[in-house]
């Protein structure tokens, strides 16, 4: 079926890749690769852009996810909560070849959300009196001490969705939601790899998780990860 592309958001993968450039800040959605776009990750490796700052909840898995971009030495800085599943990432960090900034996972989610919804930061007591508080402003509210955590934004976010319509309304699938709706909001250009692209009106307004306002580019990648358990 031919989908009417009335907002010009539906593009080819190579058109979308024009937005991915050296030195940029890139959000890679997904959790251990679940909810990541296999096609766009592979294309970024193929394009071999360098000096990226990557924001992702983890480094993925040795088999899937952002780790492959890191292994390929395209990343200078990683902002994440966990790299334990990917030995290469930790090795590069210890060798001084990769800067890693750790945020507690809930804090990382809220920092990305804050960037996405236009807040200047959030206060949380998670991390108070731990290494996480280093270099952060402490603020007292109602007798409790909080850390001021700053918002995160990116030039480009890449994410997987189950379904997108031509306006960019998105539906995710089960636990492949994760950070995806937050990163869609937090990037100058959000690129969605949709398993299925449907015409305007084909998604019930109640089912929309990410309104099309937050989506700039829609591609159909079609790539599939090979999972560890397969």
């Amino acid at each position: 079926m031919q989908i009417e592309n009335q907002f010009g958001k539906i593009k080819t993968v190579s058109e979308a890749m024009e937005y991915v450039k050296d030195g940029m800040t890139l959000m890679i959605a997904g959790f251990g690769g679940v909810g990541s776009s296999c096609t766009l990750i592979n294309e970024i490796i193929k394009k071999n852009v360098k000096d990226l700052t990557v924001i992702s909840i983890d480094a993925g898995d040795p088999d899937v996810g952002p780790d492959h971009i890191i292994q390929n030495l395209q990343v200078k800085k990683l902002i994440t909560s966990h790299i334990g599943a990917t030995p290469t990432t930790g090795k590069l960090m210890n060798e001084g070849k990769l800067e890693v900034e750790f945020s507690p996972q809930g804090t990382l989610s809220e920092r990305i959300r804050a960037g996405g919804v236009g807040l200047g930061g959030i206060l949380t007591d998670v991390g108070v009196n731990t290494l996480v508080e280093e270099g952060k402003q402490k603020i007292e509210v109602g007798g409790t001490t909080y850390l001021l955590e700053t918002p995160l934004r990116a030039d480009v976010a890449i994410l997987y969705a189950k379904k997108a319509d031509a306006f960019g309304n998105l539906v995710y699938d089960k636990t492949a939601r994760g950070l995806n709706p937050l990163m869609a909001m937090a990037a100058e250009v959000s690129i969605v790899d949709a398993e299925e692209i449907v015409p305007i009106g084909a998604i019930d307004p109640e089912d929309v998780i990410t309104p099309g306002a937050f989506v700039d580019i829609i591609v159909h990648g079609g790539g599939k990860f090979k999972w560890g358990w397969q």
Partner: protein, 220 residues
């Protein structure tokens, strides 16, 4: 030979879970607790990647690549489950709606400080969701061996490793004993039938309050 010690710790931890509880299980031994929930109790397992109501593993060949736990292992969803994004997932944690989290530990202090995110000398894996969970869950249960591989106590006056969260642990379940963290200090509540109160005291580098009789746990 009786039940393996890892299973005993998981079973003992499972006894802390009540009907209707919302529970997050860390990787490894904590996850075994799911098998020891008695029939008739409905428990909602929270996986921080975005599901409340995580169920057992699917049959081989019936895995759904988009339905996994926080360890990216395929799961199922129980009736009454819900999916949400990461911000809403940690909303459940941070708001205090999580009744119990069961996780591993490297060190626990007398005051219930927890260190479990930086392994000395190893690559730093990152804290993942452990800081959020440890800091904000109503009841934090730590399952760990009583001593490290060299025989050094892991329950200490003060943690020497970087903290995950201060003053957060409620209950410690080790291969030897069950110790509750209370205002008055660490209280030895139970010991497994493989040890003695004396051995537990010896292997603990903090004061233990002993209220006789200490219950002895014997699992078949």
């Amino acid at each position: 030979m009786g039940m393996a010690v890892k299973e005993k710790m998981a079973k003992r931890a499972a006894e802390e879970i009540n009907n209707g509880d919302i529970v997050n299980l860390g990787f490894g031994i904590p996850q075994k607790a799911i098998q020891y929930i008695p029939e008739g109790k409905t428990v909602f397992f929270h996986a921080e990647n975005g599901v409340l109501g995580a169920g057992q593993s699917p049959e081989k060949g019936k895995e759904d690549e988009n339905l996994v736990d926080a360890g990216c292992v395929p799961i199922t969803a129980v009736p009454g489950a819900s999916y949400f994004d990461s911000a809403n997932s940690f909303a459940i944690v941070r708001s205090g709606k999580l009744d119990i989290t069961i996780m591993g530990g490297l060190e626990v202090s007398e005051k219930g400080d927890l260190a479990n995110w930086i392994v000395p000398g190893a690559i730093v894996p990152g804290m993942g969701g452990a800081m959020d969970l440890a800091k904000k869950t109503k009841k934090v249960i730590i399952i760990m061996t009583h001593t490290d591989k060299k025989g050094n106590p892991k329950i200490k006056k003060e943690c020497s490793l970087p903290l995950t969260a201060p003053n957060c642990v409620s209950l410690i379940i080790t291969d030897l004993a069950v110790i509750s963290v209370e205002k008055k200090g660490l209280v030895l509540k139970e010991i497994f039938d493989t040890t003695t109160v004396e051995e537990v005291k010896e292997k603990t580098a903090a004061d233990l309050i002993i209220e006789e009789p200490v219950k002895v746990i014997s699992y078949e």
